[in-house]
Amino acid sequence: MTWGSTAPEAILSGVFALMDRVLPFAFAEPAFMKRALLALLLTAPPAAALGVPLVQHRMAFFSDAIGHSAFTGVALGVLLGVSPTWTMVAFGILVAAAIASVKGRTGLSSDTVIGVFFSTAVALGIAVISRRKGLTRNLQAFLYGDPLAVSDAEILWMAAIFLLVCCCLFFLYNRILLLGIHEGFARAKGVRAKSVEVSFAVVVALVVTAAIRSVGILLVTALLVIPAATARNVARSAASALWISVGVAAFSGLAGIVASWHLDTAAGATVVLCAAACFAVSALVRAAFPGG
C-alpha cells in the first residue's frame, strides 16, 4: 500500500488487495465489483445510522425530497458544464437547509413545506432538462443508480462523507434523538433546536447524495428508512436500534451485491430488496414476540 501517494488508484489498490484476501470469491474478483462493494459499505451503513433519528422525527418524506432534488442538481451541473456530483451535493444541501429553516416559521405542517420545496426543485430540474435534448441519457445513471459504475474518485469521495457522517453522528446524535422524543423538553435541556435540525438536515443531504450513485434517486430513501424501520421492530434501546440498523444495511449491501451477481439483476435494486427482506423478518419477529 503506497500511502505516500495521494492518487486515488494508489490508495484503493491497497484496499482492493485487502479485499482479495478477505473475500476470496469469484464475485469479488473484478475491480468493478470491489468498487460496488466499497460504495455500498461506505454509504449504506451511515445512511442507516442517520435513518434511526430520521424515522424518529418522521422525516422519511424529507429524505425522499432531497433525493429527488438531487435530480435537479445533476441537471444543473450538466447544463453549467461542471461535475454533476458537485452540483448534486450543493443543491441537495441547499434544499435541505431551506426546508429545515423554513419549517416551523410558517403555519404549515412540515410535510406541506417539504412538498412545496420538493415539487419546485423537481419542476426546475425538468425545465432545465427540457431545454437540452440528449441530457436524459446522462440522468439515467442517477435515476436508477449503478454501484458497478462507480469510479475510484467517487469511492474516495464516499469515504470522506463516511468519515464526516461518523463525526456528525458522534456530536449530534444525542441532541437530535432527544429533539425527536420531545422538542420542548429538549429545549429545556439546552438543545438549540434550530441549529441541530439544520445540521442534521445537511448531513442527511450529504449521505443521500452520496448514496444516489449506488441505488439511484428513486430508491435512495430506502437506505435510510428500511434498516431503521427494521431496527425499530426489534430493538428495545437506543444503542441496539442504531447497531441493528447499521448491521442490516451492511448485510443488505453485501448480500445484495452477491445476489445481483448470481441473478444478473440491477445491483442497487437488489440491495434494497435484501433490506426489505430483513424488514419482513423483523416484522414477523415482532409479531411473534409482541412483548419482547
Binding site: N174, I181, H182, R232, R236, S237, A238, A239, S240
Partner: protein, 262 residues
C-alpha cells in the same frame, strides 16, 4: 432555610407574550418565592403553559423575568427543571428510560452506551423517585404515573433551583395523583427548590400550594392560597362557575409546607 425565607427567587414584571399578533399574556407581575409552592391556575387558554415557556426562555416576550438568589447559594444562571404537561411519546420508539437520561446528560453518543457516571446518576435519581426498577424499560411501555415519576426524577437529577411542573397529575388516576402529591411534598421538603405548578385541579392547589397566581391572559390576582381562591376571584377567572371552589375545599387535608416556618 431562613436565609432566603422572603427572598423573591423569580420576579416577573410586566411580562407580555404575543403570538401571531394576539396577546397571550399581558402585563403579568408575579413573584415566585424561594422554597415555596406557587400554583398557576386559570381556565383553558389562559396562558399558563405560556408563562412556563417564557420562564424557560422558549417563547419571545417583553417585560422582565429576573432571577435573584442569596449570595451564599452561589452565582450564575438558575437551574430550571421542567416537567412538561405530557410527553406525546411515540410508543414504538426504541428508547429506554436509561437512554432518555443519558441523552439529556452525557456527551458520549448513546449508541456507544451510557457512561458509568450517567448510569449511577440515573439509578440514584430513579430510586429517589421510587422507580429504580424502570431503567431498562422502553419509554413507550410506561404508564402515565410511571412516566410522570421518570420525568420528575430527570428534572430533579440536576438539583434545580426552580422546578416547573405543567399539569403534574393529568393522565394519572386519583390514587396515583395522591401518591404523587405526597411524594412531591416529601422531596420538596428535603430539597427546598421553588416549585411552580400549573394545575387545573383546584383540590390539588388548595391542598399543596402556598401561593396562587390566577391567570386569564392577564393577572386576575395573586397571593396566599387561602386569601386568593375566593368565589369572586374564581368567578372572574372561570366565569360564574364558582362551585368548583366548594368542591375543591371539601377535603382540605395535608399541606405541602406543614411544619415549616413561614
Amino acid at each position: 432555610m431562613t436565609s432566603c425565607e422572603h427572598l423573591h427567587t423569580l420576579e416577573i414584571r410586566n411580562l407580555t407574550v404575543r403570538r401571531g399578533g394576539v396577546e397571550i399574556l399581558s402585563g403579568i407581575d408575579a413573584d415566585i418565592r424561594c422554597g415555596e409552592v406557587t400554583a398557576v391556575v386559570g381556565p383553558n387558554g389562559a396562558g399558563k403553559t405560556t408563562l412556563l415557556l417564557a420562564i424557560l426562555g422558549q417563547v419571545p416576550y417583553t417585560g422582565e423575568i429576573r432571577f435573584c438568589r442569596a449570595a451564599e447559594h452561589g452565582e450564575g444562571a438558575p437551574r430550571i427543571g421542567y416537567v412538561p404537561q405530557r410527553l406525546d411519546l411515540d410508543p414504538g420508539a426504541p428508547v429506554t428510560v436509561g437512554d432518555f437520561f443519558a441523552l439529556s446528560s452525557q456527551r458520549r453518543p448513546v449508541f456507544l452506551g451510557a457512561s458509568r457516571g450517567t448510569r449511577e446518576a440515573t439509578r440514584a435519581s430513579l430510586e429517589r423517585a421510587g422507580v429504580g426498577h424502570l431503567a431498562a424499560t422502553p419509554l413507550g411501555r410506561l404508564s402515565g404515573g410511571e412516566l410522570q415519576r421518570v420525568l420528575f426524577a430527570l428534572a430533579l437529577r440536576d438539583s434545580p433551583d426552580i422546578l416547573l411542573l405543567d399539569e403534574p397529575v393529568s393522565g394519572v388516576d386519583v390514587a396515583g395523583e395522591e401518591r404523587f402529591c405526597e411524594f412531591l411534598s416529601k422531596v420538596q421538603r428535603d430539597s427546598r427548590f421553588s416549585l411552580l405548578l400549573v394545575s387545573h385541579d383546584l383540590s390539588v392547589v388548595t391542598r399543596h400550594a402556598d401561593r396562587v397566581i390566577c391567570l386569564n391572559r392577564r393577572l386576575v390576582c395573586s397571593g396566599a392560597t387561602t386569601e386568593v381562591l375566593t368565589p369572586e376571584n374564581l368567578a372572574a377567572m372561570y366565569g360564574a362557575d364558582a362551585h368548583l371552589f366548594r368542591h375543591a375545599r371539601a377535603d382540605g387535608h395535608g399541606h405541602l409546607h406543614d411544619g415549616e416556618a413561614r
